[in-house]
Symmetry: C2
Subunit: 598 residues, 2 copies
Amino acid sequence: MSISPNKYRTHSCGALRLDDNGADVALAGWVDSVRSHGEGLVFLDLRDRDGITQIVFDAEDSGKEIVERADKLRGEDVIGVTGYVRKRDGGSNPKLDTGEIEVVIRTLDVLNVAQDIPFKPTDKESLPNEENRLRYRYVDLRRPRMQEILRTRARVCQIMRRYLSEVGFTEVETPVLFKTTPEGARDFLVPSRHQPGSFYALPQSPQILKQILMVSGMERYFQIVKCFRDEDLRADRQPEFTQLDIEMSFIEQKDVLETITGLFKEIWKEILNVDIGDVPHMSYHEAMDRFGSDRPDTRFGLELVDVSDIAGSTDFKVFTGAIEKGGVVKAMRVPGGAGKLTRKMTDAYAEFVKQFGAGGLPVTKLEGGEFVSGVAKFIQDVRPALVDKLGLEEGDLIAFGADTYNVVSRSLGELRLKIARDMDMIPAWGEKWNFLWVVDFPMVEWDDEQNRWNSLHHPFTAPKPEDVSKMESDTANVRSDAYDFVLNGSELGGGSIRIHDANIQKTVFKLLGLSDEEAETKFGFLMGAFRHGAPPHGGIAMGVDRVIMHLCDTDNIRDVIAFPKTAIGSDLMADAPSPVDAEQLAEVYVASTAPAED
Amino acid sequence: MSISPNKYRTHSCGALRLDDNGADVALAGWVDSVRSHGEGLVFLDLRDRDGITQIVFDAEDSGKEIVERADKLRGEDVIGVTGYVRKRDGGSNPKLDTGEIEVVIRTLDVLNVAQDIPFKPTDKESLPNEENRLRYRYVDLRRPRMQEILRTRARVCQIMRRYLSEVGFTEVETPVLFKTTPEGARDFLVPSRHQPGSFYALPQSPQILKQILMVSGMERYFQIVKCFRDEDLRADRQPEFTQLDIEMSFIEQKDVLETITGLFKEIWKEILNVDIGDVPHMSYHEAMDRFGSDRPDTRFGLELVDVSDIAGSTDFKVFTGAIEKGGVVKAMRVPGGAGKLTRKMTDAYAEFVKQFGAGGLPVTKLEGGEFVSGVAKFIQDVRPALVDKLGLEEGDLIAFGADTYNVVSRSLGELRLKIARDMDMIPAWGEKWNFLWVVDFPMVEWDDEQNRWNSLHHPFTAPKPEDVSKMESDTANVRSDAYDFVLNGSELGGGSIRIHDANIQKTVFKLLGLSDEEAETKFGFLMGAFRHGAPPHGGIAMGVDRVIMHLCDTDNIRDVIAFPKTAIGSDLMADAPSPVDAEQLAEVYVASTAPAED
């Protein structure tokens, strides 16, 4: 860190080396630890964001009075010192960059005394409970790991901005006080004081505004922007999150994919020194067929294989029944699963898949060249065919799904992830970076409950040009120019090419059961903008928080946000949200209808 | 602009040159203008964000059918074309970068027809009224000037981020859904659905959070961040605005000033190729004495001069009365004002200064070596002394203020600006960049109405170390380590070194009449954080919108914001804010109390 010398310090606590031997220096920072050796000798680790320097108080150099004051210092006190650098007496400390020197202190200025420190921020052994970490966030953020994460986050955002600016994108700020947008989640509302009875909504995303910017001729827009969704309680969600938002004009799908791929190559190279190479594309159907998921984790096997043809030739009612109803039978080979997965575990898996609609989980094992246990007797006859199709080997466990395509995919897809975790098949952080573009999503999916088609993405997503002709005749098989960017089984972002042709838009609205009037009401000013000369355009939105989680090896979204909120949206440090005077509410023309507290 | 060729275009509309003669190209963009020459010949200016290219449809090359379709095109239609480049027949157009060539069209794809265009975005002659510009913002933003402003804004933010990152700052995102902060303006409130009866507040600035980040050990924080103030109607304010927010630890005032000065040198150099040189410092008192303002416009003279000693020796009651009451008499010399400022104008000035508390405006003129008109007869005797002190010359007008120091400063300070505008003394944009640090603000000012001291900045602003001893004995003269950054008379930002010493903080709270309990209630969690080891720290906040206004030569804040709001906070394009269903309100436990509309 570059610091310009001032009255507090000449160097940071990470800067001094043997070359500085003899130099007069000033340092400032937090007391990391104090070791009193008695006999007028105190060693102290002084910490700032740059590192730790050992400083020494002794009666001879520092004077008795200073040693006595040093002896009273406690962890997290803030001090400023002056002294001189000397080579360490008792050998160097290789764990510290400054480990070859120490600073002998001549003056001590106690800048602030710390009281009631709830936990030691540099204790590597034990992490405080999360409630304490959030309540005393200012202590928690002193932990070197948290500092490192926040710095990485800033660097990644800088890379995003630099890269995109270099390839012709302009960052444009869009409003926070805006209007309900049709994203599906609940809006946060803000009452207006100047317009009684009216409310702003915080944007769930700048989706409509970035499309407006394309109509405005910006051509290449991006923004790193806060988005707001008032969702139901989920531990891994935050009511406000950060998105890298992108939109481009006069482009095709490939242009968006190339832009994002190039950007992520740059990020991974610069942050982790990793070459991620080319990013493969996989169609939605292939992803569902092979992995039972539209965001497949391709770092390990356990792929799903359709064995309907073989299963159909058995007498096993579970299999034949499913096929007769138009469903499928799929199998997953678990190498070595025969030995490693106990009966108790496979019973638990059978329960597990039920939450995804499966009736149960037929399993068997290949041991001594035979199917053994589970559904062995029903399928022994087709063993050779299954061995051949699945590439089975001695000691494998085989799990089956027999139901509709969707139920089988979902349940075996989830089971696949669970087994991989249980059998330790998921590579450690940093070993594999399996980036993947999932493309060719269906444009719509059938909603059984509401008995109508729903957009898989949003109603402005363009059908693939070659599929436009079958929009009405073969709706289910119309693919869209939508795409998701997936890393190690987690969705980093997604987007689509938007419809710019009014006739195609009309057809899509009709398919979705939206009348022209409803479309106008719901998407009003965007529809208006489209009538004033809209270019072909498309874009993508990436979850910044999630990207940082991957880069910093954490599953906890609260680790990558300086001041995160709890699952119920509380800021424990600031005690927000909090009650407000009735008068303050009256000024914005609302009243609380919350039930009185007991 | 770098574009990668796709089905829509091989080049942008600003790219082609004579070197490309004969090349096959594809272009796309908006129809800027169409000129039908009859006889199967149509010229069209095609526009994208990069420029304009003339394209030609003729029966021979394009075919009759295409020429007929081209003839029907209207301004702002979106088209894609292919054709070949040729040297212009009738000589080049030096106004266009592409002026030496034209593109002869072989295929035409009408991508979108524009309807009901409210105004032509490239009409340089007349600007539409602002309501229309805001309502049809997507058309207004197509204007090259608006595109240029938004691009400049993005570049400036990039420079800020790059520069600050290079000198060790980390950008940290702070929450938007937060808590009331004691900034003085009204908060925007957001009701919580998960915590009935509780509300978030949108931050008026991240002031407290950036101080918390210093307690967290971040040392050098910045953020380009949206701030929210629910202020009363003023045309030049926006309810949400953008701030460059900075905070540093273990620093003195000079460190903040050097950082910002260095940053603005970089911005002005990179955007305007202007060297702003060193930025002078001026004390608050000097600024008030000489310019009657704490953000003096130093680009022209009209300085205020204290003539109390001379005025006190006259018999003019207005002067002697003011001095007897402890006030002052100040004079402002207006070179050439005798001829240029009519009686009608000086009468209007006398009315003008009344709004700032002045009783009137004594004026006179120096003509034929004598004071003439106005208050001439009262001060003729002291003419030589005034001529000497003010450096008066033949033809000057002299205006006086006689009242308390504050009233005289304020009224003559404002009059100074008005006369400078009226007499065309303010240099044109780009001629002078008078940056200035105003320093040594008083820590507190006396509030006559409330009969107590108020912070000039905020209650955490540190007194100058050398003034600490007189905090209780000579409160009015205690200066603080606060500073404002001023450009050409407009405040770009301000900040201060904060108090980190608990005893000094106690004294300040006492001076301000804040009990420990009140301080705790008002600044609760920050006070708590301060007890956990706070380093010395300070910072600054700069108004990004205002910086861009200076760089882009506009007085209209709405010109530098993509989607601005009107004075009553309306987004005319999106029709926000807007009414909300009672059910949606009930979900967040509020009800509207707005009077029913007629």
